[in-house]
Symmetry: C2
Subunit: 207 residues, 2 copies
DNA sequence: ATCTTTGTACTGACTGGTCAGTATAAAGAT
DNA sequence: ATCTTTATACTGACCAGTCAGTACAAAGAT
């Protein structure tokens, strides 16, 4: 979703010109919603609270998203797209295994910046109600891992018979869990250190 | 409905305390609660629904656990203990890395049997409201992984400078994620196959 | 033996508050 | 003109927690 349509606002006067623009309002609501839902969970988060934190009227939320569920679906859609973009952009490196390390780092960095979304994703990912969003996640984000692993298997960097789909989920879940732990427990630890630990784990018994 | 005809079944439950049916009631409520919360989440699950599925009156839930939150805390306590026992029991093997594989398998098997709890744990684990339960989880379950990894580091099976705490969380989160995916998406796949994939991933670039 | 009391486990109708969603009038923005 | 947002007020369903009462077993008491 989110056609980046900036709507040609005449010329100059760029910046946040469209003060009351719909896109702007939607983003404010997204930010507020993801923070609250990360803290309290979807069901315990009220639309009143979302609207208040976003600094908009309650009616605006319903005007823009139709319902609480509609808001949440749009939020998932929006955030999963961004995550998929970030992972795909990180898929670079000499060897496939270098690329794997790089994607792991990309995921860590994304969740460093969007920690609230990490929590929401972890909590809601397997709820049957949002199965469509999960399917999209598999197609767009997990497939980045699956492809890297497939490449590694194809040119002999790892066993050719590895189940890349399961392995992709495993790595994704591993990084997601660690990213959340880091934010919750060791917020000041440099991300590179966490990344190094994960890389060692994935590279196996290196001395 | 259903006049709980438990009555004096004579046998059932050891002589620990007369009127042993209270333990029975609590377990029925636990079972019902974990299933519903796995499906709907904590906040969206009503005490009415828990009581109905357990076949007890709503008042019984409050009589036994004081509040909805009290019920959930007792449930976490109960289940985390069982999980920790299962992991500790699986901590066996020639080398530390064999033990690691074994604990991973133990965790997979535990969540195979208690899939609903796996979902609840994943979703609620990092909610600040249950931080006490998370602390207990770290002490009792994650420490099994941390100890295995420490042993492996001590006798040179893996790098001595590995951050075992972070690695323990990583492995735990990886297995938890994959266990849930397996149940949701590939329930018929033998657990050994999933285990083999995780072992390969952990053992690194073996050809 | 029969009556009375006590403690434990449980029941389910009821209450008081909460919250998604609606309604509407008026104000900005383009 | 039309789209978007604001502010306020309202409705009705839903739900956590309460409470007066039931059931019943065991322990005195007579």
């Amino acid at each position: 979703m989110s056609e980046r349509s900036e709507r040609t606002n005449g010329h100059s006067s760029e910046r946040t010109a469209r003060r009351g623009s719909r896109q702007d309002t939607r983003l404010k609501v997204f930010r507020s919603a993801v923070e609250l839902i990360a803290e309290l969970g979807y069901a315990a988060t009220t639309v009143d609270a979302i609207a208040e934190r976003a600094g908009v009227a309650k009616g605006t939320v319903f005007y823009n998203f139709g319902s609480k569920e509609g808001l949440f679906e749009a939020l998932l859609e929006h955030s999963i797209s961004k995550l998929a973009e970030a992972l795909a952009a990180a898929d670079t490196g000499e060897s496939a295994l270098d690329a794997l390390d790089s994607v792991v780092l990309g995921q860590l960095r994304f969740f460093e910046e969007h920690g609230a979304f990490a929590r929401v994703l972890l909590a809601e990912m397997w709820r049957t109600a949002w199965q469509e969003a999960v399917a999209r996640l598999r197609r767009s984000a997990l497939s980045v891992y699956a492809n890297v692993l497939r490449r590694a298997a194809a040119n002999g960097e790892i066993r050719a018979d590895l189940d890349v789909e399961t392995a992709a989920t495993a790595v994704f879940g591993m990084v997601l869990t660690v990213a959340i732990e880091r934010r919750a427990l060791y917020p000041d630890r440099p991300i590179e250190r966490t990344h190094a630990t994960l890389a060692e784990l994935l590279h196996g018994r290196i001395k």
